[in-house]
């Protein structure tokens, strides 16, 4: 496989990143990987993941940004607030001040779409408390039941353990239903595990 950056040398470093439901991949030769800060031994530690993702989003063109991008701006543009350049951001993956978000809007669009679950803030505002539901009364009950379950299993009292297991499932399901009355399936999304059949 040829390096996707230089298109000349054999790719020996293969990077895959799952962002949300999208799998993004990048195949680089050793020299291009090193230039991007990927250490073949240490992997992605310390790498500028934000810049890599930005390159992935632009080169793969599999992600449709939520908004239409404007015409590419000048390559040497600089933030008027802190002097950060586009090259600085690509190198370190960090903005320098609040004004950078306005200056480099085009760089953000695909990046935000890939990392986050939407492109607009729906949470708290400064000066006001976040609207978060309080813990339900079932939380301490759940802990006690699960402790009893562990003791029953350790004592090989499997009938008692099965009763406790069923009680925990009913309690957990009722908590989920209370929080997600219309979206209980989404709330219980799989963990990717395949537990073995019960005793």
């Amino acid at each position: 496989m040829i390096c996707e950056e230089c298109h000349k040398h054999e790719a020996s470093v293969h990077i895959q990143e799952i962002i949300g439901k999208k799998r993004l991949s990048l195949n680089l030769c050793a020299a291009c990987a090193s230039a991007k800060g990927v250490d073949a031994e240490k992997g992605l530690q310390g790498i500028n993941l934000a810049a890599l993702l930005l390159d992935l989003a632009k080169s793969k063109a599999t992600v449709k940004p939520a908004e239409t991008c404007p015409a590419p701006p000048a390559a040497n543009r600089r933030c008027t607030g802190c002097g950060l350049t586009e090259a600085d951001f690509r190198k370190h993956g960090r903005f320098g001040c609040a004004a950078c978000y306005d200056v480099f809007t085009d760089l953000l669009t695909s990046l935000l779409h890939d990392i986050h679950r939407g492109d607009a803030h729906t949470g708290k505002k400064p000066g006001t408390a976040a609207a978060v539901a309080a813990d339900g009364p079932s939380a301490p009950d759940l802990h006690l039941l699960t402790a009893d379950l562990d003791r029953a299993v350790a004592a090989e009292a499997y009938e008692r353990a099965a009763e406790l297991r069923d009680a925990i499932r009913r309690l957990t399901a009722s908590r989920r239903k209370a929080r997600y009355p219309r979206h209980s399936h989404a709330a219980t999304g799989g963990t990717g595990l395949e537990p073995p059949p019960g005793p």
Partner: protein, 349 residues
């Protein structure tokens, strides 16, 4: 402060066997000032002074806010704060103008001029995401009335890294998952969690290494959903992971009982009688003892002291106890002696 038990570990007798602690971190920046990476030392010092003054005004009168600028802390103090999860590894390396504000009960800490101007953190034992969020949110709301935050109606709280923009909230739960780890289920868990915009990473190790089978599950996304939605989804996935951990522990006991008991027994023997003990070996073996406690294998070991011991064997806490800096081998000797004494006391009790 460093001699007290760690407040975010579950208390003796607490039924939270798998979920160890819950944490909320809120990233905030002040308006009209460069983020820490582009700010001058003078600007960072000004931010630290403003944040300290604002925080002192909201900490209860009965307790005194502890304010520390990083250059004023010794290497040992930085290490102790890191081990108690009150500061990050990045802040440990920072200099003038960066610091930490601590409530004496350690449930709240505010890092100043780390990656962002403010990183407000709250920590509680067990799975209490909403309660720990209330702690952090209360501090955040009160600070925002004294310090003008950089905020955008569309993008939310503006942060140095776009991965934190929006709520700026990283909610995480620390879990003890020996059942999943010993049955090779951690990788599928990581992949499944990532599909739902959560990350799972090992704690206490370098990079992706997972030492002692402690893992942290945290949200990835901070934009496009509210704090309540994120906490609800995290709570749901934690419940599923805890269920799975219980199932796989039962599987281990059912299908690999002798091998499992042998591993736990050998860990106990090693900790009880070793004279050289590295931090990594101590943590891994104490993790097996914790599992043994949960399975009811030990009549004289209690989970609380074992969890506390896992903090005390860390390099910073160990050297604090010793009262001096120790090189690697003397540290391993001191660690082994500490563990022999503590386990011996529990065995004799």
């Amino acid at each position: 402060m460093f001699s007290r038990p760690v407040p975010w570990l579950p208390a003796e007798g607490d039924a939270a066997l798998i979920t160890v602690s819950s944490r909320i971190r809120l990233a905030r920046n002040l308006v009209d000032l460069p983020f820490p990476g582009r700010a001058t030392v003078e600007q960072r010092r000004r931010i630290l002074a403003q944040a300290s003054a604002a925080a002192a005004g909201i900490v209860a009168a009965a307790s005194r806010l502890i304010v520390s600028e990083m250059p004023d802390l010794t290497d040992l103090e930085r290490q102790l704060l890191l081990e108690r999860r009150l500061i990050s590894r990045d802040l440990c390396r920072m200099g003038a103008g960066s610091g930490v504000l601590l409530a004496p009960d350690e449930h709240i800490s505010v890092m100043v001029n780390e990656e962002d101007h403010l990183r407000i953190q709250a920590l509680l034992p067990g799975l209490h995401l909403r309660a720990v969020h209330r702690l952090a949110d209360d501090v955040d709301t009160k600070l925002s009335r004294c310090l003008p935050y950089a905020f955008n109606e569309r993008l939310g709280f503006l942060t140095a890294c776009p991965s934190n923009v929006g709520t700026g909230m990283r909610a995480s739960v620390m879990l003890h998952l020996p059942g999943l780890a010993l049955t090779g289920q951690i990788e599928p868990l990581m992949r499944g969690a990532q599909e739902l915009s959560f990350t799972v990473r090992g704690m206490f190790g370098e990079g992706t290494e997972a030492v002692a089978n402690f893992f942290q599950v945290s949200n990835q996304a901070t934009l496009g959903e509210s704090e309540d939605q994120t906490l609800g989804r995290l709570d749901a996935i934690i419940c599923r992971i805890v269920d799975a951990e219980r199932v796989f522990r039962q599987r281990l006991v059912r299908e690999r009982r002798e091998h499992l008991y042998d591993q736990i027994g050998k860990a106990y023997g090693s900790l009880r009688y070793a004279h050289l003990l590295t931090s990594k070996d101590a943590m891994n073996q104490l993790s097996l003892l914790l599992l043994g406690c949960d399975l009811g294998l030990f009549h004289n070991l209690r989970r609380g002291p074992l969890q506390e011991l896992m903090i005390r064997v860390q390099p910073g806490h160990l050297q604090k106890l010793a009262g001096k800096t120790l090189e690697e081998v003397p540290r391993d000797v001191f660690r082994a002696r500490l563990v022999r004494e503590k386990l011996g006391n529990m065995a004799d009790a």
